[in-house]
């Protein structure tokens, strides 16, 4: 995007605009480089904050495709999303790989889930409960796993 992407060192830019413009993007994403405006990608929809759906998707909710082919009427972005989740992958990773904001990914994912094309593992609701009342088995697995590294 700009020549500044080669900068080294812990020089986080101070402004939002600077950060966006110098951030390299996969898939030509980012506000400036995105070929298709976000409102087209999401069909003009945004994530509604207070319905039951908001309990569904956390940054770390794992997504697994149940199909390789999108439905008729799905966009290229739906197809790309389905492609990256053939193995379990978090919503945050999908957002990074496709160069789309988290909220745009959640809109697309809800479409795919409505069509039965993806399975969601460990939803936001489950995250919330697990954090409020962590179960001992998970904590043990966490500590064991870290000690093996």
């Amino acid at each position: 995007m700009t020549g500044a992407t080669g900068a080294t060192g812990p020089t986080e830019p101070s402004g939002v605009g600077g950060r966006r413009s110098r951030r390299p993007r996969r898939g030509g994403g980012g506000a400036a480089g995105r070929a298709v405006p976000l409102y087209i990608v999401t069909g003009g929809r945004s994530e509604s904050g207070d319905d039951l759906d908001s309990l569904l998707l956390d940054l770390v909710t794992l997504v697994v495709a149940r199909s390789t082919a999108p439905d008729a009427g799905h966009s290229p972005e739906h197809a790309a999303l389905l492609r990256v989740c053939q193995h379990p992958i978090s919503v945050a990773e999908i957002s990074a790989h496709l160069g789309l904001p988290f909220s745009a990914v959640t809109v697309l994912l809800k479409d795919l889930r409505a069509g039965g094309l993806v399975e969601l593992r460990h939803t936001r609701e489950a995250q919330r409960q697990a954090a409020a009342d962590p179960d001992i088995e998970t904590l043990k697995a966490l500590i064991d796993g870290l000690q093996r590294l």
């Binding site: 986080e12 990773e93 990074a96 995250q127 919330r128 697990a130 966490l142």
Partner: protein, 192 residues
């Protein structure tokens, strides 16, 4: 250089590399958030623990005059983009840990609904040369009821203070662990 820049390099193409795929049995994920001021080493810590090259996710937020600037009754509505670097550790066949480095210099990162919510815990990374940079983040964690540890990133030229003085300066309750670390080293990142 022995640290990770905040801007991860772009990958070769769309989607994760074959060697970065999670096992098909992965079914549960946990989230730990690393907070701290500008340039304190959040991205470095994410990178030193992560098994994948750190990635970046972003969110665009609309702010309805969040009560910081009083513009005399004029309704304000602005957009801001918050980007976060994150890494991943596959703990076993079913459990995956994600580490998020929050952008400390951006005032509104905590409005990203769900970043702190559901987090198992947080690491507050502190540079003793700029202690006050982490105050806002600590307030957010306390408000959100997220358990945290405070980690002093031991920069070579940063002053060393006794723990008691640091605890007093940070107004740290006795139950909150205070440790020193070198964010560049994996084994130090794991102590958290």
């Amino acid at each position: 250089m022995d640290y990770n820049d905040s801007d991860p390099a772009p990958g070769p193409g769309l989607g994760p590399r074959d060697e970065d795929l999670l096992p098909a049995s992965a079914e549960q994920s946990v989230k730990v958030v690393i907070v701290g001021g500008f340039g304190v080493g959040k991205t470095t810590m994410v990178g030193s623990v992560s098994e994948i090259r750190p990635l970046t996710t972003e969110e665009t937020m609309t702010l309805n005059g969040v009560g910081v600037d009083d513009l005399g009754g004029v309704e304000t509505k602005t957009e801001t983009t918050v980007a976060m670097d994150f890494g991943r550790v596959t703990l076993d066949e079913r459990l995956v840990l994600y580490l998020f480095g929050t952008p400390g210099q951006q005032r509104f990162w905590f409005l990203w609904n769900g970043v702190l919510e559901g987090a198992l815990g947080a690491v507050v990374l502190v540079d003793t040369r700029r202690l006050e940079d982490c105050f806002a983040a600590m307030d957010r964690l306390e408000d959100g009821g997220v358990p945290f540890v405070v980690a002093i990133n031991t920069f070579p030229d940063a002053p060393v203070h006794p723990d008691d003085d640091l605890r007093a300066a940070l107004d740290l309750p006795g139950h909150v662990p205070l440790v020193s670390c070198d964010a560049r080293r994996l084994e130090n990142g794991l102590v958290m």
